[in-house]
């Protein structure tokens, strides 16, 4: 049984609260970036490219056992770290839960303060794409209850 989105987000917020300065936050994001579940090279194409990011970001979603599983990649390691945080919060969750989830944890971890405006816009685009995938796959969820 996987944790709820809410619990995972709380865990991420707690983790980031532990860091005292930007350098530790960045180092953490870089190490998260290195653990990102990497997108299959076959999906690393124009269709999976997120518009509005300054460095290229690709995100793919697949439905497995009624849960959305995300994989991604980026040219830039800090961007990979950002997408890794989002994937940790939203991957292996039901589309409806993803749609209903709040994204306030992003503000709580102070990520935006450390991103340039263009990067912060990219972050918004990534969240939008994740939610769009959830909308698209919601119709394919099999009613097992």
């Amino acid at each position: 049984m996987l944790d709820t989105i809410e619990n995972i987000q709380a865990e991420i917020v707690e983790e980031f609260a532990f860091f005292e300065d930007w350098m530790q936050r960045y180092e953490h994001m870089i190490s998260l970036g290195k653990s990102l579940p990497i997108i299959d090279v076959a999906y690393k194409n124009e269709d999976h490219l997120i518009k509005g990011c300054q460095s290229k970001v690709w995100v793919h979603a697949a439905l497995e056992n009624n849960q959305l599983v995300f994989t991604a990649d980026s040219e830039a390691i800090i961007t990979k770290g950002i997408i890794a945080i989002l994937i940790r919060a939203f991957s292996h969750q039901k589309p409806m839960d993803i749609l209903n989830a709040s994204t306030g944890f992003i503000d709580e971890i102070g990520l935006k303060e450390h991103l340039s405006a263009t990067r912060a816009n990219g972050l918004v685009s990534m969240i939008k794409q994740i939610k769009l995938y959830a909308v698209a796959y919601q119709t394919q969820v099999k009613d097992t209850d």
Partner: protein
């Protein structure tokens, strides 16, 4: 310039003493925009506090004072670039606007099959208006290729020039690489074939005082904000014979002689190209910015910036894996670089956290990035108010970024 002189100059720029992300600002994005000295800020404040009025219209004193100040600025600009006449200096919103005036005007002078030559080192603003012109006229855009060291292939240029060539456009200095192009040679070769030449001087203006008559250039464009002036104002210099040939760019007030619903006759130069109320305070401040630059001296500025460039190049190259793009013998103080295996955005983000402002990305010159097959670079661009200590801070920040990211 000595260290003491630079310290004194820095006091003219209040922004240089602010902090960014808790660190002292190290501003190395001067090729994007230069900082503004108090003397220029005061010119703007003085205008709005004492004689804000529309120009060339009112008989009242304020309007006359504003008109005189604006036209005095035009003469300062004329003298700085050694234009033959003040009316050959068109005040625009910047380089992009200036290029668009010429590109739009040439629509009436081109025929299908005419050829335009563009250098491979151009900013998008000196590519896109010409592509639009080609779409409208059926003219053909040909590219003067670049070489590995970031200079133009001049032999290829000579081969591309022909009887069909009508226009050649090229920057004086590349914004992405800092290469100083051999514009004298480009201009004379084009003229020998009867083609006109537009030189985009946006990146050259802060470092090199161009003499448009000595260059014999047909059009030369500049943005004030690269040369310690405000944003939203710039210059189109054009030879009288060319400006007379081009039709007006925009219709409106100021650019007319007489208007009736049957027929409007256009005003003479420079007003033909200056429709509407211009950026009056900006024009006046552009003049003040040139005064400021001359108070330091262009030769002193160029000499000092070359020392900064040499020192920064040497110390950055000591970092293993660092590659500099653009290694021309003639360069302004711009260093475009990457570290093998790292993305420029990552380096730029970490530099920003350390208070070091650089540009990252394709610098609005995607063809150059395509040539090197890279997504972009980190670009540090220096001004006369930067210090050797700031170069050290840049190098230390790049080393830190490398250790965090690798």
């Amino acid at each position: 310039m000595t260290e003491i002189e630079v310290t004194a100059i820095r006091k003219d720029f209040p922004i240089l003493s602010r902090k960014v992300n808790g660190q002292d600002l190290v501003y190395l994005d001067n090729a994007a925009t230069s900082q503004t000295p108090l003397q220029v800020i005061e010119a703007i404040v003085h205008y709005y506090s004492h004689y804000n009025a529309n120009i060339h219209r009112g008989v009242h004193s304020l309007s006359q004072e504003a008109t005189e100040a604006y036209e005095a600025a035009r003469i300062k600009i004329q003298k700085h670039f050694n234009a033959a006449h003040a009316y050959e200096v068109i005040l625009t919103s910047g380089t992009t606007h200036a290029i668009n005036i010429v590109a739009s005007g040439f629509e009436t002078l081109l025929q299908a099959g005419d050829e335009l030559l563009v250098s491979a080192l151009e900013h998008h603003s000196n590519i896109v208006p010409w592509q639009m012109l080609c779409e409208k006229t059926g003219a053909v855009l040909k590219v003067i290729p670049m070489l590995q060291n970031g200079t133009l292939d001049m032999a290829a240029y000579q081969r591309l020039l022909g009887a069909k060539t009508k226009l050649v456009f090229c920057n004086h200095v590349s914004n992405a690489l800092g290469t100083v192009n051999p514009i004298e040679e480009i201009i004379s070769a084009a003229h020998a074939m009867g083609a006109a030449v537009l030189i985009d001087g946006a990146q050259a203006a802060p470092h090199i005082q161009a003499d448009v008559q000595a260059l014999d250039v047909d059009f030369y464009t500049v943005s004030a904000h690269k040369i310690c002036g405000p944003t939203g104002v710039g210059m189109l210099y054009g030879k009288e014979k060319w400006l007379e040939k081009l039709p007006p760019y925009q219709g409106g007030g100021e650019m007319i002689a007489t208007v009736s619903f049957e027929k409007t006759t256009y005003a003479g130069l420079p007003h033909k190209f200056e429709a509407g109320t211009p950026n009056i305070s900006g024009g006046i401040a552009f003049g003040a910015a040139l005064d400021y630059m001359h108070s330091i001296g262009f030769i002193a500025i160029a000499t000092y910036e070359q020392q900064l460039l040499e020192y920064a190049t040497k110390t950055l190259l000591e970092i293993e894996g660092l590659v500099i793009y653009g290694t021309a013998a003639q360069k302004t103080a711009v260093i475009s670089f990457n570290i093998k295996g790292l993305h420029p955005y990552d380096i730029g983000s970490i530099l920003d956290q350390m208070g070091v402002a650089v540009r990252t990305g394709h610098h609005c010159a995607q063809p150059i990035m395509d040539y090197y097959q890279i997504p972009g670079t980190v670009r540090a661009s220096f001004s006369f108010y930067n210090t050797f200590k700031e170069v050290d801070l840049l190098v230390a920040a790049v080393k830190k970024a490398k250790s965090m990211l690798c």
